[in-house]
């Protein structure tokens, strides 16, 4: 699946997007955040406070317990500050 990062999550990870293949044990958005955080220092820094991270699956907001099964694109970003 494709993963996209925005704002300071993107800056901390050091890339805007990538393709990942998490193991089957990674079922929810929360699981995926935990899995990503263990991929290295930049990821650990980006995801050090999971509760402030917002997520979207296929362009719609989702909660941390949302399942990632069948997702084409998952995005992680800080709380929004537009308008």
């Amino acid at each position: 699946m494709k993963v996209k990062y925005f704002a300071w999550v993107r800056e901390r990870v050091g890339k805007a997007e990538e393709t990942i293949e998490p193991p089957a044990s990674v079922r929810t958005v929360d699981d995926l955040i935990g899995w990503l955080a263990r991929r290295g220092e930049t990821y650990a820094h980006a995801f050090e406070t999971p509760r402030v991270i917002r997520a979207a699956i296929d362009h719609a907001h989702v909660k941390p317990d949302a399942t990632i099964a069948g997702a084409r694109e998952i995005a992680f970003f800080p709380p929004m500050t537009g308008g």
């Binding site: 704002a7 995005a75 500050t81 537009g82 308008g83």
Partner: protein, 155 residues
């Protein structure tokens, strides 16, 4: 007549008068247009701001604004909505966002404009970065913005 919904995300500035004219063009059933513009300020608290840079998630931003425009259309008797959100670098005094709502009567237009702005701030995927004397930093989200959006789900 069908409702006129325009959603644009762009780097360029917009002309409010022209956007209002486009929303009301060839219609005589509109009695009220409410216009909200968000403008870049030159300070945050005591600190001067030289500019804002807005980042966004293009595909989702359009979808999210469209979803809320649809909700507004179903909730109030509107004849039209225009939402324009700028991205890129914006300096103090420049426009950031425009929300226009048109209706037969003012109440629906006022309420829908406020609803759309509250949701734009809380759930449209845009992020502001400020240029301050000490460097650039991402703007922190305010709990009050989430609270402002949440109040529309109560009634």
């Amino acid at each position: 007549m069908t409702a006129n919904v325009t959603i644009r995300i762009q780097e360029a500035d917009f002309d409010i008068a022209r956007e209002i004219a486009a929303l009301t063009k060839a219609r005589t059933d509109i009695g009220a247009v409410v216009s909200f513009s968000g403008i870049c300020r030159d300070s945050e608290g005591d600190e001067p701001i030289a500019a804002l840079t807005l980042e966004h998630y293009p595909e989702m931003a359009e979808a999210e604004i469209a979803r809320h425009a649809e909700t507004a259309m179903s909730r109030w008797p509107l004849t039209g909505i225009s939402v324009i959100h700028r991205v890129g670098r914006i300096v103090p005094g420049e426009n950031i966002v425009l929300v226009l709502t048109a209706s037969k009567h003012r109440q629906a237009a006022f309420q829908a404009a406020e609803f759309l702005m509250d949701y734009l701030k809380a759930s449209a995927p845009f992020w502001k970065r400020e240029e301050r004397p000490a460097g650039t930093s991402w703007v922190d989200a305010h709990d009050r913005d989430d609270a402002a959006a949440a109040r529309w789900t109560k009634s």
